[in-house]
């Protein structure tokens, strides 16, 4: 049997195009969910687009490592969340000095703009848990594993986040837990 001992080099040659192919598949699968998250985080199409682009760029730069992870989606979600945290901090700082609210509102953003403005008032963990659960569709146990917290803690964070958001959005109080009840 004749072996092609140049196989290693051929593999290396194909690696880059193969990586690009893998990334395209990841992009196609992860893109809708990341866009939804970024949209509720920012309440603005342009800002959301920038966050998601930056998330994918960072993922692509680290793709050799990220592609080997058990859950590359979780890695990308974490990057997006961290970018959003930076974005919120900028907004908060600006709000201190000028009466600025989140992003620029446009006609199509009405509901999401209100939600994004309400989300910004939540503590970081609660915000992340609520979006992971309600928007991404992760279960309590999945969120707990992603955050390295116990399921009980995640439940508490989720409950508080819902209550706080309901208050901010002036939803019917009877259906929501008061924020202080869980402390």
């Amino acid at each position: 049997m004749l072996l092609d001992v140049r196989g290693v080099i051929a593999e290396e040659t194909d690696m880059r195009s193969s990586q690009a192919g893998d990334f395209e598949r990841f992009f196609a699968a992860a893109n809708p969910s990341l866009l939804r998250q970024a949209y509720v985080y920012t309440g603005n199409v342009d800002e959301a687009r920038d966050l998601v682009q930056e998330t994918f760029l960072r993922t692509w730069r680290n793709w050799e490592r990220v592609s080997r992870l058990e859950d590359p989606d979780a890695w990308a979600r974490k990057v997006l969340h961290n970018l959003a945290v930076g974005w919120w901090r900028q907004r908060r700082t600006r709000r201190k000095y000028a009466a600025l609210t989140i992003g620029a509102r446009d006609q199509s953003d009405t509901d999401v703009h209100d939600i994004a403005s309400a989300l910004i008032s939540l503590p970081e963990k609660e915000r992340r848990v609520l979006v992971s659960h309600a928007v991404v569709g992760l279960s309590i146990s999945e969120i707990a594993a992603e955050l390295g917290a116990s399921e009980g803690t995640v439940r508490v964070w989720l409950s508080r986040a819902r209550a706080a958001l309901a208050t901010e959005l002036k939803l019917t109080p009877a259906r929501q837990t008061k924020r202080g009840d869980q402390r």
Partner: protein, 368 residues
């Protein structure tokens, strides 16, 4: 109430539904982001705001250049394209000027053969160039000049890497391989010309970034080494970065001189890559002492050699060892030594039949 572990079931309350409904609007927005935008563009995609500030900065820079720099012929960076592809400055080490287009049908095309420097025996002279300019060609047939970058940093690394690239291997890429360029799977393929100026002459190197097989040529000397990736990076950053140390996975493409001697010149170190018992996917790398380096080199060079076919005839359960001989400058020589496959020794350019002594020596090092 504390929710149960059910993402959208009975515990799905009004807040969740509100969030989900708002987020779902994102599905109907044209976001205009594609995977190609990301993977084909290693540098950050700028946001609109950043675009505006960058554009303003570039405008200021352009005005400064136009007022203070452009009138100086030696620094005229914008003179692309006119034959004989030299800048207007008459001095010997001025930067070369990129042709506006390259012929579509011509593989390995360079604007001119090496002039005043050695271009027959190696891809580029064994000397650091005074200037290096990278011309990128895009468009459907990669024929049109898309941009120019002067390499401002890393010229010694550029020389060290390109000087020692090997001649084409059997079965390796031959020259630039324009067909593979045009059929490349990579989202943004590009052809490149590297213009190198020296105190006494100049030389062009053509290559391409395809995500696949594309070698390089100076018009006379060809190599099957794939350098499109590093050239692309240098074009994008203006810096030529020295390659990282070889690993068992990334061993490079060989070294000039390996077509004459199994282990040419004076390597400074050698590492052995092998599969540990039970590990089928990842090779382990073991460094060998300086004495072992000389022993291995001399032993491998003692065997009679012939031109490599890059294949061997396998008996039962062959075992392969990969020896990576590294040098002070330039790429390593990679020698495969097999137990149970003949010819047993192969560096990509040369093969030798008998690997018995080499295998015994290698196994001795691994057991030590």
């Amino acid at each position: 109430m504390i929710p149960r572990d059910d993402p959208f079931g009975g515990d799905d309350n009004e807040v969740d539904r509100l969030l989900r409904t708002a987020a779902a609007k994102a599905d109907f927005i044209d976001w205009a982001i594609s995977a190609e935008d990301i993977s084909g563009r290693p540098r950050p995609v700028l946001s609109r705001a950043r675009h505006r500030s960058l554009a303003a900065g570039l405008l200021v820079a352009a005005i400064i250049v136009a007022i203070f720099v452009a009138p100086i012929p030696e620094l005229n960076l914008f003179n692309h394209g006119s034959a004989p592809y030299l800048m207007s400055r008459s001095g010997p080490a001025s930067a070369l000027s990129c042709p506006r287009s390259r012929p579509v049908s011509s593989v390995n095309w360079v604007p001119s053969d090496a002039h005043g420097v050695e271009g027959m025996g190696r891809l580029v002279p064994e000397a650091t160039p005074s200037n290096a300019v990278i011309c990128a060609y895009g468009g459907r047939k990669l024929a049109n000049l898309a941009g120019v970058t002067s390499v401002m940093e890393g010229l010694p690394a550029l020389a060290g890497e390109l000087t020692w690239l090997p001649r084409p291997e059997v079965g390796g890429c031959s020259g630039v391989g324009l067909r593979s360029v045009l059929q490349g799977k990579d989202p943004v393929p590009a052809a490149y010309l590297i213009g190198l100026s020296y105190p006494h002459g100049w030389l062009w190197v053509s290559t391409a970034y395809t995500g696949g097989c594309a070698g390089a040529s100076n018009g006379t000397f060809q190599t099957s080494a794939i350098i499109g990736g590093v050239v692309k990076k240098a074009y994008e950053t203006g810096r030529w970065v020295a390659p990282t140390a070889s690993s068992c996975v990334s061993t490079g493409f060989g070294r000039l001189g390996q077509e004459l001697t199994m282990v040419p010149g004076q390597p400074v170190s050698v590492a052995i890559c092998y599969f540990k018992a039970g590990a089928r996917l990842h090779q382990t790398m073991v460094s060998v002492s300086p004495e072992g380096l000389l022993q291995l080199r001399d032993l491998l060079n003692r065997e009679p050699t012939f031109t490599s076919t890059n294949g061997c005839h396998q008996s039962v359960n062959p075992v392969f060892y990969t020896l990576i001989f590294s040098y002070g400058v330039g790429p390593p020589v990679v020698v495969s030594v097999a137990k149970g496959c003949v010819p047993a020794i192969n560096n990509g350019s040369l093969q030798a039949n008998d690997g018995t002594a080499a295998v015994a020596l290698i196994q001795g090092y691994l057991q030590a």
